[in-house]
Amino acid sequence: MEVIARVHKHKKRNYKRYIPLFLMMIPGLLYLLVNNYIPMIGLFIAFKNINFQLGFFESPWAGLQNFKYLFASSNAFIITRNTLLYNAAFILINTSAAITLAILLNEITRKIIMRIYQTVILLPYLFSMVIVSYLVYALLSVDNGFIDKSVLPIFGIESVSWYSEPLYWVFILPLVKLWNQAGFLCIVYLASIVGINKEYYEAAKLDGASKWKQIQLITLPLIKPVVIIMVLFSIGKIFYSDFGLFYQIPLNSGALYPTTNVIDTYVYRGLLQLGDIGMSSAAGFYQSIVGFILVLVSNLIVKKVSPENALF
């Protein structure tokens, strides 16, 4: 009898039962409030002329002044261009590299060797960009770098000042990002390749299909949904960049800003190095809003392509 009564009570939503569960959620929700929601509201300072003596709320409104300054300078164009083009390059290069690696890795039949390769190519992903910038420095330093001292002389080339010529970084940054991220993406795609039913390949082999044909006609079509989703979500994040990559790897070198400054580094420098809150909050606002729109749009597309993978 008692059991039935309890079940019955439960059906009527016995809120008392859930009090401990609500209490459990409080620390996490409080953290999201502080770390995420208050800063969202704080975006309003992009429309203010911040005066620290007066405080954030009492500071006078600036209307769109901050945005006018931002977009009147050439910076807005440069940082937007750099952010978009680099991210587009990263998506294209790293996705194709990772798929290739994943397909090849799947060909390796010895489990232990496969695991060793997996472990090794994931290694670069583990380290902070500070460590990575030391590694890049060891290669590219003008005075002592391995490339300048040991590789270039072979080709009879005089030393190259990598850290003062912006053009080189258009190639260096994608290479570093590839080195850093390919292993991670490879693991993701490998998981979906491993999931493909082996019978497809058995049947294809009986029909005399070559390896290349099997990849073309079985592997690639079957991992296509995962690829599309991963790419679309990356496109959703295309307005945000890997701050460490663009700030640490070029050693924050001013000479390189034309090709290394992205929205995130611009906002950081405006806020903490130049003390130009108006400009950097305007750039941050621009990033948040456009970034949000891109997330929504890419999700909408995911929903069309494969509804079960859409975020919402």
Binding site: Y15, R17, Y18, P20, M25, P27, G28, Y31, L32, N35, N36, Y37, I38, P39, M40, G42, L43, I45, F52, L101, L104, L105, I108, I113, L122, L126, F127, S128, M129, V130, I131, S133, Y134, L135, V136, A138, L139, S141, N144, F146, D148, K149, S150, G183, I187, V188, A191, K211, G244, Q248, V267, Y268, L271, S280, S281, G284, Q287, S288, L296, L311
Partner: protein, 292 residues
């Protein structure tokens, strides 16, 4: 059959090359750190010490107290931050995984929305710095950005939903167990895989973080090891007779090799323990990718 072997050979060649590309930069770093300053100045960083020397490490050893302190901060922040972050992540994710939980969808959306939209650096920095005044406190290394994120909460929630049959919870409840007992005695023991995975990701986040230290801390006494690395990258003389942090060095600074030795000091712990957690790391990446 021939086809099969050919592709396996190709795969092995590609992966041996890829593995070399992944490992060689670390080798360059380690070998250079064991070289003499003179040999580096003459012939640059190299993959094999042309002239073996421990000078760089001897120099670092004279500042061992400070480096040990920075490591202490990193360890403390990583352990404490991971423990707290893991707790609040699990405690938020579990109620949201319960289909009978009131307001479940509304609260889940609040968590989820933080993944779509954020205020960015400026308001976050001003909030922590000008309103909470966390500048130059250990809180600055622990709280902003790293403690918990919506993504981990949602992955954990999905784990609970797919791996814990509601019947277990209901029958324990009927047997008189309270919600907290159920969580502690039944849910957590069943959730070790997700605890390991999420804990690992939070932990790596803390261990590798230099950003919070860079924006919130300029007192070198509370630098984590990553902040010391960051500082040395810009100013190699950072530890040379710095009264602020009590370093006193009588030996001459072998600049080029110390640069690599300090990077080795920063990278070594991860290189050592990586093989142990590698399995969970791979699993975690797959879980994360599947969910979004």
């Amino acid at each position: 059959m021939k086809d099969e072997r050919g592709s396996r050979i190709l795969a092995n060649i590609v992966f041996i090359l890829a593995s070399a590309v992944c490992i060689l930069p670390f080798l360059l770093m380690i070998s250079s750190s064991f070289s003499s300053e003179k040999s580096i100045l003459v012939s640059g960083y190299s993959f094999w010490p042309r002239q073996f020397s421990l000078d760089a490490y001897k120099y670092l050893a004279t500042n061992a107290a400070y480096l040990g302190h920075a490591y202490g901060i990193t360890f403390f922040v990583t352990l404490f931050g991971t423990a707290v972050g893991l707790c609040i992540t699990l405690m938020l994710a579990y109620p949201l995984s319960r289909s009978d939980m009131p307001f479940r969808n509304k609260i889940s959306f609040l968590v989820f929305f933080t993944m779509l939209f954020n205020g960015g650096l400026v308001p976050t920095y001003l909030l922590y710095n000008n309103i909470f005044h966390i500048k130059n406190t250990i809180i600055a290394l622990l709280v902003p950005y790293l403690l918990m994120n919506g993504f981990n909460v949602l992955i954990t929630r999905t784990f609970f939903m797919t791996n814990i049959p509601p019947a277990i919870i209901e029958s324990a409840y009927i047997d008189g167990a309270g919600e907290l007992t159920i969580f502690n005695k039944i849910i957590l023991p069943l959730s070790l895989p997700i605890i390991a995975t999420i804990g690992l990701f939070i932990g790596i986040g803390y261990w590798n973080d230099w950003f919070n230290g860079m924006i919130f801390i300029n007192d070198a006494k509370i630098f984590s090891i990553q902040n010391v690395l960051n500082q040395m990258l810009q100013n190699i003389q950072f530890m040379q007779n710095n009264p602020d942090i009590g370093t006193r060095t009588t030996t001459e600074l072998p600049q080029t090799t110390v640069k690599m030795a300090i990077a080795v000091v920063g990278a070594l712990p991860i290189l050592i323990i990586y093989p142990i957690f590698q399995k969970y790391f791979v699993k975690g990446i797959v879980i994360g990718a599947v969910k979004g």
